[in-house]
């Protein structure tokens, strides 16, 4: 029963695909094949992320994280957050569990947000690919606008969310496993 509840969303999407196939066979099968492709991509990216996370969680002491990305890490923390986020691969939802471990280890809230921003949009492998598909002018312009944008969004967000709210988020993540 619990399992059904846990996979409720997945089961609903399966029903939608089955219904789509019944209504429009081509569209339904296309949906299924696209889902299969992104599933393959997910299998490539997600397991190593989680295992690296497990290693990070057990090996890197809290003090190290606080020193490099915590309160008072200043510009060093910002730059490190951008580099870590940009070095990533995989879709944005892969960033959330990583960010959670950073928070558990005492990374500063705005740095966590910068990390998520960098992961979402300035990934180095994607940047190279963007140059080859859309040209250097397009890719570099976007990168130059995005880097300050990410930092500004992170700071606006950490002002927008109250101190209590931030503490609540840290607590929630602390209790996650």
């Amino acid at each position: 029963m619990n399992l059904i509840k846990k996979y409720r969303f997945f089961l609903i999407t399966i029903c939608v695909i089955v219904i789509t196939i019944l209504i429009d066979k081509n569209m339904g099968l296309k949906a299924l094949s696209v889902a299969g492709d992104s599933f393959k991509q997910m299998i490539l990216v997600i397991p190593p992320i989680f295992i690296l996370l497990g290693l990070l969680d057990t090996w890197v002491p809290r003090e190290t994280m606080v020193k490099y990305m915590g309160e008072g890490s200043g510009i060093k923390g910002i730059i490190l957050s951008i580099i870590l986020g940009s070095a990533a691969a995989g879709p944005l939802y892969g960033a959330f569990p990583v960010a959670a471990v950073f928070m558990k280890k005492g990374a500063k809230f705005s740095n966590v947000l910068i990390f998520i921003g960098a992961w979402s949009t300035t990934k180095i492998p994607m940047f190279l690919f963007e140059i080859s598909a859309l040209g250097a002018k397009f890719a570099i312009t976007r990168l130059l606008v995005d880097i300050p944008g990410i930092i500004i969004i992170a700071h606006v967000l950490s002002r927008l969310i109250s101190k209590e709210e931030i503490i609540k988020i840290y607590k929630k993540i602390e209790n996650m496993d």
Partner: protein, 161 residues
Amino acid sequence: MGNYLFYAVMIILLIISFLKDKQKTKKALKKAWKSFDNILPQILGITMLVGILLAVFNTEFVSSIIGEESGWFGIILSAIVGAITLIPGFVAFPMSDMLLKNGAGYMQIGAFISTLMMVGIVTIPVEIKYFGKKLTVARNILAFIFSFLVAYIIGKVVGGI
């Protein structure tokens, strides 16, 4: 290629970790499994949802709504399409190139790429699970608004409008 690099790094670190401390490595793997198990149901659902969305929002459909003459209306539509869909970069960039060649405007494509990367309507349930409703909604709204600035600058610089 980047994906295999991840596996390589993981395997090397895992071996080093195992040689240094068996117990700790076991604990790390347990933690990895726990957080994976925690997120797996959502990811499976998202994967299916992406399939459905991409079957509906195919290249012809997208290019029909975001032509160069579509103006602000087209920019807003592109931003919305980018925010809803979750297309991996290695599909999105060549697709955008094709759309540009089929008459889409640079501002529209700039908006589409930007929201595609930064805004994730489909992944909002996952984001909320970690960061709560308020932060998730605020982050996505800010990123959505920011994407218009990105679109405008790309249009000016690359499109020369």
